[in-house]
Amino acid sequence: MTVAVFVALAAVALAAGVAAVWRAPAWALPVLACALAGVMLLYQATGLALVTIAAIVGAALVMAVARGPARVGAPADVAAPSGRLGAGRLAAVTVAVAGLLFVLVGTWARQFLWTGRELPPGSSWGELPGLGVALGGAPGLLGVGFVIVVAAAACAGPPRHRI
């Protein structure tokens, strides 16, 4: 049952990823974040699921707002040529991605195929207080995150008018 739920969530996440890469719609990132949050709940990472939904969905909302007026005001013939992909380019990327897929998935499958490694029943590992303690013990990471948030807030401000 758990594996079936995981397969369903993974299928939704991969479909949202394909949609994001292929057509770049605004709804792809929120759907991807929600599916990944479900996966994290299956892996007992409840705090991380909350962080994921907050970060990715928040970013998707800001992106939709930032791109909304530009999309409305853009000429109709600007976005049309970008959707066409050359056959040679598509074949080269397919070969490269297939090679990486073989290396990555094959290596991980052989290296991390563990059985019987489970958390003890009733363990509170993965919940939000533990995540808070982990982040509190890494002030450097928190500093980097703070700089990122400040930079994002600065860039998400109203557009500057050029003379």
Partner: protein, 87 residues
């Protein structure tokens, strides 16, 4: 839940993002593909944290998710806005 499952999912997301970065030419699509790549990399950390039962890896994964969100916001707002006063 086997650990390998989340690695398969992370691999798929990362490779999807890589294909998007290589195939898409406009900034908006490439930005979304880069975000998908970052999310895939952070998903690897979810599996690693579950395998070793280390909350520190969760902290790093949380930072990567925040980085992906902030990255998306910064690049989306840096896209040039079309000139609306043209003919």
């Amino acid at each position: 839940m086997p650990i390998t499952h989340v690695y398969y999912l992370a691999s798929g997301l990362w490779l999807l993002g890589l294909a998007g970065v290589l195939l898409r030419r406009e900034g908006w699509g490439r930005t979304l593909a880069l975000v998908v790549m970052l999310v895939g990399a952070a998903t690897v950390l979810v599996g690693a944290a579950r395998a070793w039962a280390l909350a520190d890896i969760h902290g790093l994964a949380a930072l990567m998710f925040a980085l992906a969100g902030a990255y998306a916001v910064v690049l989306a707002t840096l896209q040039p806005e079309p000139d609306r006063e043209g003919p």
